[in-house]
């Protein structure tokens, strides 16, 4: 879940990261007033979740209060990568001597956070990494062991920074590492982090992404930042189908049958377990199948939940068949999911044997589950059939 820049900075401010004076404004009059209070040249920045503001003309500099008001009026209507501005952030224009880049994200391969630092900030870091790799350092650190400023210092030093800049940057980078872990972030980025002409440092732009599943752990912070529970912050607004999926998952506390994403295919998917959703979705596409949806089930959802999810997917126009596939399950019970999907088919007025192209959920209580599937004539397979092959069987029944 992405934070707006003003929210990211509010979080940074709590942790005493160096920020210049700034105000979020919602009218030309407020922009004019902000200019006066900040005192001097300012930068006005559209508050959108997407990147590319500068290219879109949604970042402008003002030398006077009148100019600040004019820029507010011209920035607000600009749509940046399909997104309208929520408001405008007015900040002091800084006299920058050098710009740095610092970001922490999660490295899925290393299964650790990775700190990326460069003394060539303000521009695309991927480009810097290609053209000037000696100016970019990548440092992994543990999310379990105690953090040490030494890690931050080594990362900054590895990009060639020395002397006073190294000493001043280290605590800033170290604080960002702590923020990343404390708030279950998937991205904490400052770009640019500027060294001003007087030698001090200031955060000019910042981005924060919080793991969506961790929202419940940070309710107080989100409330204080004004981020409502209904703000999904997804790349696009959820469809009615996806909202209905969220309601299915909220039916009761048992397990998960949600995270539904709508696609325009003809094969409905009830998928999940230990990364199984992504694997199976990709497998269906590899076989030339067209998924009607993505979803995640696991954690032993109730029969009612599995039933409601199945019924929802089958209610989508154009869905010909359903593939019910999971990785090997341990806490999710095969028989419970089997009951749910069969009930869902029947509730949708569909014959389970005709509708379920394949049922591939091996694991806990599979013998009981297979008895149910046999009773209703549903094709099933155990773990001797790979997820990839099961997806192929499902696709073959449609095409």
């Amino acid at each position: 879940m992405r934070f707006y820049e003003y929210e990211s900075k509010a979080l940074f401010r709590r942790h005493r990261l160096p920020l210049g004076p700034g105000q979020r404004v919602n009218s030309a009059a407020e922009a004019r007033q902000a200019f006066g209070e900040i005192g001097g040249p300012v930068v006005l920045k559209s508050q959108v979740l997407s990147g590319g503001r500068m290219k879109a003309g949604a970042v402008k500099f003002a030398e006077s209060a009148d100019e600040a008001a004019e820029h507010f009026q011209s920035i607000m209507p600009i749509v940046v990568q399909g997104e309208s501005a929520r408001s405008v952030l007015v900040e002091r224009k800084s006299a920058v001597a050098q710009e740095y880049f610092v970001a922490i994200t999660w490295d899925g391969r290393a299964k650790k956070p990775v700190l990326v630092f460069s003394d060539m900030g303000g521009i695309d870091i991927e480009e810097v990494a290609e053209t000037h790799p000696e100016h970019v350092s990548k440092t992994h650190f543990s999310s379990i062991l105690p953090l040490s400023p030494r890690i931050a210092k080594e990362a900054v030093g590895a990009a060639g920074v020395t002397g006073a800049a190294l000493n001043r940057l280290t605590p800033i980078v170290f604080e960002l590492m702590k923020i990343f872990l404390a708030y279950d972030l998937t991205l904490a980025e400052i770009n640019p982090l500027a060294r001003l002409e007087d030698g001090s440092f200031v955060v000019l732009d910042g981005h924060v992404d919080m793991e969506a599943e961790a929202r419940g752990n940070h309710k107080k912070l989100l409330e204080e930042l004004g981020i409502g529970e209904d703000e999904t912050r997804q790349a696009r607004p959820p469809t009615d189908f996806e909202l209905a999926g969220a309601r299915v998952n909220a039916v009761d506390h048992r397990g998960v049958a949600g995270n539904v994403v709508e696609f325009d295919g003809n094969l409905g998917l009830v998928i999940g377990a230990g990364g199984g959703s992504l694997t199976l979705f990709d497998a269906v596409r590899q076989h030339g199948g067209r998924p009607a949806n993505y979803c995640e089930i696991g954690g032993n959802p109730s029969v009612k939940k599995a039933e409601a999810l199945t019924q929802l997917i089958l209610s989508k126009p154009g869905v010909e068949k359903l593939a019910v596939m999971m990785n090997v399950v341990s806490n999710t019970r095969v028989d419970i999911v089997a009951r749910g999907v069969i009930k869902g088919c029947i509730a949708a007025g569909r014959d389970p044997a005709e509708t379920i192209a394949i049922f591939r959920i091996p694991g806990s209580w599979e013998d009981e589950g297979f008895k149910i599937l046999r009773k209703y004539g549903v094709e099933y397979c155990d773990r001797s059939v790979s997820m990839h092959d099961a997806a192929g069987r499902a696709v073959a029944k449609i095409s």
């Binding site: 109730s302 029969v303 009612k304 019970r333 028989d335 419970i336 009951r339 069969i342 009930k343 029947i346 009981e368 008895k371 149910i372 009773k375």
Partner: protein, 73 residues
């Protein structure tokens, strides 16, 4: 609506016992049994949620409660 997969039969004599009714309501993890004024009642909406834990069978006198897998018949 009765269960599609599971049915539960309670012996009529056992069903009248308020003590057993309360015990059945307490032990069932999915809310199939309701301790009503008249004794044990079955919430049919929850029958298919049965996880086959047998706690109800253990809580009742011998043969007092039977859990029937309809898909085996």
């Amino acid at each position: 609506m009765p269960g599609l997969f599971i049915d539960v039969k309670v012996d009529p004599e056992v069903a009248k016992d308020a003590g057993i009714a309360a015990k059945l309501e307490e032990v069932c993890p999915v809310g199939i049994f309701v301790a009503a004024a008249s004794g044990v009642e079955i919430d049919e909406q929850n029958l298919d949620e049965c996880v086959l834990c047998d706690l109800c069978i253990e809580a009742a006198p011998k043969n007092g409660v039977r859990v029937i897998k309809l898909y085996e018949s």
